[in-house]
Symmetry: D2
Subunit: 221 residues, 4 copies
Amino acid sequence: MRPLIVLNLKTYLEGTGEGAVRIAEACRDVGEASGIEIAVAPQLCDVYRVASQVDVPVYSQHIDGVGAGSFTGHVFARSVKDAGAVGTLINHSERRLNLADIEASITAAKGEGLRTIVCTNNIATTAAAAALKPDFVAVEPPELIGSGIPVSKADPEVVRGSVSAVERIDADVKVLCGAGISKGEDLKAAMELGSVGVLLASGIVKAEDPKAALEDLVSLI
Amino acid sequence: MRPLIVLNLKTYLEGTGEGAVRIAEACRDVGEASGIEIAVAPQLCDVYRVASQVDVPVYSQHIDGVGAGSFTGHVFARSVKDAGAVGTLINHSERRLNLADIEASITAAKGEGLRTIVCTNNIATTAAAAALKPDFVAVEPPELIGSGIPVSKADPEVVRGSVSAVERIDADVKVLCGAGISKGEDLKAAMELGSVGVLLASGIVKAEDPKAALEDLVSLI
Amino acid sequence: MRPLIVLNLKTYLEGTGEGAVRIAEACRDVGEASGIEIAVAPQLCDVYRVASQVDVPVYSQHIDGVGAGSFTGHVFARSVKDAGAVGTLINHSERRLNLADIEASITAAKGEGLRTIVCTNNIATTAAAAALKPDFVAVEPPELIGSGIPVSKADPEVVRGSVSAVERIDADVKVLCGAGISKGEDLKAAMELGSVGVLLASGIVKAEDPKAALEDLVSLI
Amino acid sequence: MRPLIVLNLKTYLEGTGEGAVRIAEACRDVGEASGIEIAVAPQLCDVYRVASQVDVPVYSQHIDGVGAGSFTGHVFARSVKDAGAVGTLINHSERRLNLADIEASITAAKGEGLRTIVCTNNIATTAAAAALKPDFVAVEPPELIGSGIPVSKADPEVVRGSVSAVERIDADVKVLCGAGISKGEDLKAAMELGSVGVLLASGIVKAEDPKAALEDLVSLI
């Protein structure tokens, strides 16, 4: 099976505005060359710019579970979809939501045909998120995020345990893993542990040459 | 003095995606014809689309007080600026921030040359917000937001009291008022109470003809 | 099976301070007379007063998933336990937590031997909460809370659906239901739908005679 | 002028349950011997226990700006007052509130005759908080909290600047300072910078002998 790679640009300066477009182009180029889906998750203000300028799958970094109405400053699924996104992260460890809002966000995203990736911090919350039937759960131990130490090496059990917990809850939900992932061997290890792909960020965005870093990432698949 | 009018599109369906562009065009046309500054505050995902397609001042509905870095799903001032905004709402009653974050958001916005409008709910919080030295404080009694009953009629004292409280704290800060504003007489009354403009939303966005509604709004100035 | 009844005193004036003690005494008296466990959930500042003065099971209305340390204003499980509580509500619809914090709160409560009741708003979130292995999940449709319309009559399907969803996830977790419950027939209906008890509040606390209201509540079991 | 000393017990194990009572007794003893007011701020579940067992001024670590009603898990001013507190911290850096809620909390506390200490993180937010007319603003640079490095030494300008900013806004509001304070020289320096007292925590609570640490604290006044 072909993995899904989602590159989260966070609020990195290198991935803001024109920088987001350039990194999205690298995702597109390496994705096309390798035949592996490499999506990009730019900041909210960059979703339209990236999606209208680059032929790459775009994910939002966040949506709220709100509908049309009086929700100033909130992220409405329709708006994300209209801007050209195909999916969204939900409940990233840097933008946590309460349980009712995670469920409402998944429902709102599905209503617009957006793919949903719910982020979680351990096996128990991964199981809970799977019960909400998103397309993917992405487990990321918070202490490894941005550490440069890949979760697949530092804590393989959290990935394996997440995969089997999700299977018991709902076999249609797939598992991604994240935190510290940046190299080809990390992605390979993540797949061998049963995940279907990875969520990554600083290891690529802050690399001297993001395109070369992406090429290395997919080199062992 | 020429008033400042800021039209908040919230997550109204009529003001999402292409709808945001159309309403922004109405703001531009009525603004040009009347010589009055009419700004538009679209959703985050629409800031770039509106700013790149319509020659109108664009405000963000929200920013966070974060810098470049690991802040997934947050609204980074640089990103708002790069997308073409000239200012931002902060602490709208539908997207409240804690005190330290309001201050950090103002600082972040000023660092990018964005104009800052801090929203408040009564005279005391207006005074507090003024001490943080934003460009504007916009006082909006929450119970009147979306009510169709203009604050200038229902509670003129909150506007007058806000104006004099802000003058005592920092005479460089200007006062807008909002909640229930939609007609020419509301704007006129708001100016007579000492505010320099208005923040409005549903009365225009949900009008059968937003452009005509804007023309009525500025007709008595 | 004997039901569990938990009476949430919220911040009702009738259930504050000495009022909390008097209502706890009514819970104790009706509990002893009927042989049914009637617990009381007073405000945080009243946990010690009620637990030290009345022989009744006391639940906290909230705990945080924090340990010992620099967490000013947070509710530490050890403190709740030391004050005499035997359990705690978690994630009430009026005090929602993010997913990671719900899991951390359950873990913290279990570490002190406190029983855990996670509140949820629909079938999907009930299933998710069950995956976190609390002792109970209490499903309460928010629109019925305080309505006087019992969930067992207005929306029996949410109770039945919650019971079967939880059974599929983890048969050790039990389901309570709440919202609009106050009479004997409501409790009877709740049990017949598969729940093991109820969470209630205003219908008893604001009754002219709370003790008589509790006697009516248990009269059909 | 006699300083005000407020000892925040946070969720330290040493200051939980019986530990809170013991530390409160040390505050009382040193306060009586020195003639200096030493108040204690225990956890919410310990307010009643401490206030009913020890003759010492008790502050809550937090209150919410809610009234009587459907506010499960919130901290109602009446409940804090009934439990025996004489005041409350508001907006501690570990329990921040949005601006509208800070104002509502001050109003709620004053309605019950509770003294109010609003915590802030820098000169600008101190000025803003002063505009809300609490009894005290306590400025604590977050990076120094728990550091053991006294704010009066590491950043005297934030104290001096806070004192003069508050004077300009409302001369009736007094300034406390905190972060890293634990010794007699720290308190002396804090007073010389224009503050009327200090907020402290770990330096005393985690001292081998808290009573001796308090005696040292007041030894130079």
